[in-house]
């Protein structure tokens, strides 16, 4: 009997009953990766030695004081390949970092190691987290566990697929415009983006620093909450990390939504939605109403400007952040006689298409003569978008809406960049405003998963879990697994 496909809570309980050891959980996770990753390509590198060490350490921690041990102690996890782990290959899905081994470990990862979590490996992603399908990885696309011909979403597609395929019960990704929530939706798992500043970005390879947040994937809301709590909180090494105490959402998971005011933003239910997504999300909202929530329609009129705002701000920040890839201190270098030519060739050969497109767009938007018309204007519209959220949160406690306008699409089906960017139209505004948001499975359309998104005010992370938890417990979607999870 394998433990693959169990939730982290089920594994933690089995560990404490002495039915399994961290070593067995790790062996099962590896066997599942070995069996399925040939068709999924979710992993870029394994962290075998580290995992072996952590499994031993976790066993000792559980032996010493099981009740005090973290719910993640002894649990196999996977890490998006934008999180630095000292001594292990970290590529961000880019050729320019092929072979790079960071000299230090990200705070998020260090906190996982400290509580005895067992990192199985680094997961595939769109290059530098830029994309919505994981097709922009320099190391090949990732399959969706529900249909390997389809994309898992992105950019954290490998982390979403790893949980969806039962390889690990918990993984971590990063979300700049939807890169955790959208792949979670497409892979039928829970994906959580915390309030901006809740998670340390130290050791997270930067894409757009004012938007990037680390967050977990899991089968259940409770597992996602535990995975969040294990990593969240102030880090003196990240000056944007918030000093506020982290509320443990655990206590709220059983509280329900009776009497809560939940808003449905009209603009999120508009024309761009696939009919199957609209149907499932409408049903999910009816479930919340039946549980006693007061549902009301609200309006976020600038929603359609979110995408344009994002596609100025994120590329502008990326063009600045990616200036560091110069082939001097680390990473790949293409040698030419002059330094300028070396830089040009190193970056021209090291970066893929999407990264080049965004570096060009961001450089243009920041260049002399265009800064006011693009970058400054986008920053002002960002304020409008954030204010509209503030205004609706005067009258509702949280928002419920679709995560992605689409279910998983076939690999190669979307070639037009703007059509690809539209996949994140309903997740981007949340990053622009720095809010917490979750995607929780809410059924299927044509046998492909659909996700319900819950959004709450800044620092009300626990409330997101409360609403998502109430919905999950009233339905059975979280118990569904992709057919490939069970061994043939």
């Amino acid at each position: 009997m394998t433990t693959a496909g169990l939730t982290a809570a089920e594994m933690a309980a089995a560990l404490r009953r002495g039915e399994v050891t961290p070593r067995q959980l790790l062996d099962d996770a590896r066997a599942q990766v070995d069996r399925l990753d040939g068709s999924l390509n979710a992993f870029l590198a394994r962290t075998d030695e580290l995992a072996d060490r952590q499994a031993l350490r976790a066993a000792e921690m559980l032996r010493a004081d099981a009740p005090a041990a973290s719910p993640l102690c002894g649990i196999p996890v996977a890490l998006k390949d934008v999180l630095c782990v000292e001594g292990y290959p970290t590529t961000a899905g880019s050729r320019i970092l092929d072979g790079f081994r960071p000299p230090y470990t990200a705070t998020a990862v260090q906190r996982l190691l400290d509580v005895g979590a067992v990192p199985v490996g680094k997961t595939n992603c769109d290059e530098f987290a830029m994309g919505s399908s994981t097709e922009n990885s320099a190391f090949g696309p990732v399959g969706n566990p529900w249909d390997v011909e389809r994309v898992p979403g992105g950019s954290s597609g490998g982390s979403a697929a790893a949980v969806g395929a039962g390889m690990v019960p918990i993984s971590y990704g990063s979300d700049t415009g939807g890169s955790i929530r959208q792949p979670a939706s497409l892979c039928g798992v829970v994906g959580y983006k915390p309030t901006y500043g809740r998670m340390s970005r130290y050791g997270l390879i930067a894409f757009a620093s004012s938007l990037d947040q680390v967050g977990p994937f899991a089968h259940t809301v409770a597992d996602a909450a535990a995975a969040y709590v294990a990593v969240a909180g102030h880090d003196p090494r990240d000056s944007t990390s918030l000093p506020d105490d982290v509320d443990d959402p655990g206590a709220l998971l059983q509280r329900g939504v009776a009497g809560m005011r939940l808003g449905v933003p009209r603009e999120y239910m508009g024309e761009g939605l696939e009919p199957g997504v609209r149907a499932r999300v409408t049903e999910a909202i009816a479930v919340l109403q039946k549980l006693g929530a007061n549902i009301e329609e609200v309006s976020l009129p600038s929603t359609d400007l979110g995408l344009s705002t994002y596609y100025i701000i994120a590329p502008a920040e990326c063009s600045s952040n990616l200036a560091r890839y110069d082939g001097v201190r680390y990473g790949r270098r293409v040698e030419r006689p002059s330094l300028t030519d070396t830089l040009m060739r190193t970056r021209g050969e090291g970066f893929g298409n999407e990264v080049k497109r965004r570096v060009m767009l961001g450089t243009y938007a920041l260049s002399s003569g265009y800064y006011d018309a693009y970058y400054r204007r986008a920053q002002k519209v960002r304020t409008l978008i954030a204010r509209e959220f503030d205004a609706v949160f005067e009258s509702v406690d949280a928002l419920v809406c679709p995560t992605s306008p689409k279910v998983a699409f076939t690999q190669g089906a979307i070639q037009d960049p703007i059509q690809m960017y539209l996949n994140d139209a309903l997740t981007i505004p949340v990053n622009l405003a720095g809010l917490p948001g979750i995607s929780v499975p809410c059924g299927f359309s044509d046998a492909l998963p659909v996700g319900l998104q819950v959004i709450a005010p800044r620092l009300c992370d626990a409330r997101v879990f409360q609403v998502a938890g109430a919905y999950e417990q009233a339905t059975g979607w979280h118990a569904r697994r992709a057919p490939m999870v069970a061994a043939a």
Partner: protein, 95 residues
């Protein structure tokens, strides 16, 4: 207004991004389409709206300037494509 080939080449130089002629043509055309889509921003009423550069609401994060452990020279150089053992090495910056 579409970007001219000269503008595309200028932006690529600013970004120190070596692009082939084919890439310049293709990315230039894609940027035109994206910029056209983004022009929606021009209709937003932003009079008297301040800019948002960050959403953490933190102001002036200070810390004591205390010595702490940092990377050893060896570690810092370990990933460099070229060093002389003590420093990073690059090609000539002047003719």
């Amino acid at each position: 207004m579409p970007l001219s080939p000269e503008e595309v080449a200028h932006v690529a130089t600013l970004a120190r991004l070596g692009l082939s002629d084919e890439e310049k043509r293709r990315i230039g055309a894609e940027l035109d389409l994206i910029l056209e889509h983004i022009s929606a921003l021009q209709r937003a009423d932003i009079s008297d709206v301040p800019e948002t550069a960050q959403v953490g609401n933190l102001v002036n994060v200070w810390r004591e300037d205390e010595p702490a452990q940092s990377l050893h020279q060896e570690q810092a150089l370990a990933e460099a494509p070229d060093t002389d053992g003590q420093y990073f090495k690059v090609g000539a910056i002047q003719e």
